[in-house]
Symmetry: C2
Subunit: 433 residues, 2 copies
């Protein structure tokens, strides 16, 4: 192994997030009010989000400043390194150059802290004392619990039942940061009780947990709601990944032919790809490909139509134009819990409709096969979610071997798999479906 590690100095932590909205070829269809079905304005979002985030959500400014205090805390783990995976290239015997951005190095183990810190900070500026949120696999819940604690806010997490039961360690991590956690559907909210009446054994879903967290936030003056993906402002915050990676690829004297990230709600995909897609949207890098890797058990982008749908199960969020499997879709309990969401970020969906990006779906077993191989070559064990990106990258590298093309592939290692050893055990024991 002779990996190339591309490290940015701290002074190169970006000062601004990149907002893709003004660069889109056609404007985004507006979100609609869940009752009137009319386009909503910023005021409609005020009960659940602070005005600072609402302003970002609808902004058409291309660059949005990162608060100094947030940049300061980013230094705990940023800039994150980009690695050239030479041992993996050698194993695959490919002419492709494989790079990966290491977002798993954050104290909570994933990229989710990037937006959690901004959201906690902006809420704090407006006097909010407590944030309510949902979490699937627990990556987002851990990130918000950590961010809230570092910023001095309280945190309430509605955790999808199936993850609550099978990922106790994530739950304890959140408790260690001082957050309150309840399994969703819960009896604490009307939305939760409604589901439990019909399905007392419901494994839960992100859609249900979102309904619960929103209801919690709307019902308390001191509380706002925080979402870990899907919305424009979350995509915006995650662009710090791609902005750093772009500088790092420049330092390596290279530029990606193919960008790859896993896709659940869209945030790590958007984060890596948007700053590069800027070039494609301007017409400079017409051949640039960006592939969203999703699980075949929850094939939002590859099988779901693009239409107006709710972000949550109870139908309380604004209607968003997005690829969706339907807000009542409850995906099977797979190990990549963070990819079990019925919808896709409107921005990502818009780019897919415009033919600017692609999507592929893989089955769980194939994905873990690649993940284990990656760990054995590169030393780092990927999260089951990120393993989809690993697999997609390895697949493209093998295609490059067949065609003999020296493709440059850059993927996002959005999280590590240390909390997911039970999933690896199931794979290694030959018990994975």
């Amino acid at each position: 192994m002779t990996d190339t590690k591309i490290t940015l100095p701290e002074s190169d932590i970006p000062t601004h997030f990149y907002n893709i909205a003004p660069d889109l070829p056609t404007p985004m269809p507006p979100p609609l009010h869940p009752g009137t079905k009319e386009p909503i304005g910023p005021a409609d979002l005020a009960p659940i989000f602070p005005m600072g985030l609402i302003t970002q959500e609808v902004s058409l400014e291309p660059w949005i400043e990162i608060p100094d205090e947030v940049r300061d805390i980013y230094r705990l783990y940023r800039p994150t390194p980009v690695f050239r995976a030479r041992a993996l290239e050698e194993f695959l015997d490919t002419p492709a150059r494989i790079y990966y951005k290491s977002e798993h190095v954050s104290p909570v183990g994933s990229h989710k802290l990037n937006t959690a810190l901004v959201q906690a900070w902006m809420n704090k500026q407006e006097g909010v004392k407590r944030l309510a949120t949902e979490t699937g696999a627990g990556q987002w819940g851990s990130a918000l619990a950590c961010a809230c604690r570092l910023m001095g806010l309280e945190c309430m997490v509605y955790m999808v039942r199936v993850s609550y039961d099978f990922k106790p360690y994530r739950r304890i991590m959140m408790k260690t940061y001082g957050a309150d956690i309840v399994a969703s559907p819960s009896t604490l909210t009307r939305a939760g009780r409604h589901i439990l009446e019909g399905h007392p054994d419901s494994p839960g879903s992100l859609g249900i947990a979102i309904s619960e967290a929103i209801e919690d936030a709307v019902g308390r003056d001191d509380t706002k709601y925080a979402l870990g993906s899907v919305l424009n402002h979350v995509m915006l915050h995650q662009t710090i990944i791609g902005l750093e990676a772009k500088k790092q690829m420049e330092m390596a004297g290279d530029y990606p032919d193919i960008l790859i990230a896993c896709h659940g709600g869209g945030s790590n995909f958007a984060g890596l790809t948007f700053p590069f897609l800027k070039d494609k949207l301007k017409g400079d890098r017409k051949a640039l490909r960006a592939i969203a890797a999703e699980p075949s058990s929850c094939p939002t982008l590859t099988k779901g139509p693009r239409e107006y749908d709710f972000g949550d199960t109870a139908g309380t969020t604004p209607l968003m134009m997005m690829h969706t499997l339907g807000h009542n879709f409850i995906p099977p309990p797979v190990h990549a819990g963070g990819l079990r969401y019925h919808g896709s970020a409107p921005l990502v969906s818009h780019l897919l409709a415009a033919g600017m990006i692609e999507a592929e779906a893989y089955d769980q077993h194939t994905v873990f096969e690649s993940a284990v191989q990656f760990a054995r070559c590169e030393g780092t064990i990927p999260a089951p979610e990120s393993a989809h990106a690993v697999h997609a990258a390895m697949r493209q590298a093998l295609l490059a071997r067949e065609s003999g093309e020296k493709k440059t592939i850059l993927f996002n290692l959005s999280g590590h798999g240390i909390f997911d050893m039970a999933a690896y055990e199931s794979y290694l024991a030959g018990k994975m479906a």
Copy 2:
């Protein structure tokens, strides 16, 4: 939080390890043959270690070169950052400056990979195909499993029964890297079977697991033994921690008054402190304090006499002059499994006898209280082992508050606690002894 992060460029990864042996005030008492009780020579160690490591074990050269291939793989996670823990200082309201070196950022989550990579590489140079080792908490086993895989060797791990049962995730991590793991005492070795005859329910101990791994290595031509702590060459490899930290403190324009690391076998303590103790041994920093933090349930340095004892339970290793609780001592099953060892590195024991370092012992509950507080201030959840260093540092910071002294404290965060969530749960639920 306005943490100061002190980052070294990659070009500053040390090129040589620091060997403290030639700088000691008095020579080390030699290890003795377990049968004849006569001093042993390099040839006596040849059945279990490659000659490259034996040469390092007995070397009196002050600087020993780091192989290029090892330095190259170090770049996966090195240089590791030093942080100034300002949020913690503020919480403690102390005039002390608290710094910590972040060894938890390695792909296996601890400093153990530093020596594992060197050991695997040196064995490979001499044609060894397979390494056998023991592991307590699993940190060392994971590190060697990872290093063996990256270097292309096979790996066999004897894992202390109590950790094997209560830390399944560490076991799966080793399997993910392709290692073979068995609970110790096992039926695979004479030493294991002997223990099981007398104590079928034995929780195991590092001493027993070492006996098993050595027996395995001696019995096979393709196999050598690897140890994660205690021996001189392991201390040597870990000095990369202190060598980097010394440069980083220089960059911060500061120098520690007090160095702190947890102590099990001594490797992370030696790693952080030896390069600084060089200054004290030369007479330049006479007031420098180095505190080894150990669990009160296994008080090797604070309660064990310094005498010749075996490194393992079966009495097959050379006799070493060290602080020891007796090679038959089986510590209670506490959460800091990595600190459950009856002995202490001869080099560390020698320095304690010479009055160059100090030791303190703490109870588990107090240690976790500090660990949770650290996580809530600094974002990173410490391993139960490293939490002893966190607690000792916080204690010194509080003493500095009482005395009003602006002490500079540097401790080693040797590992993260993500595998130890069950221990945190037990603490948070008020169920910890």
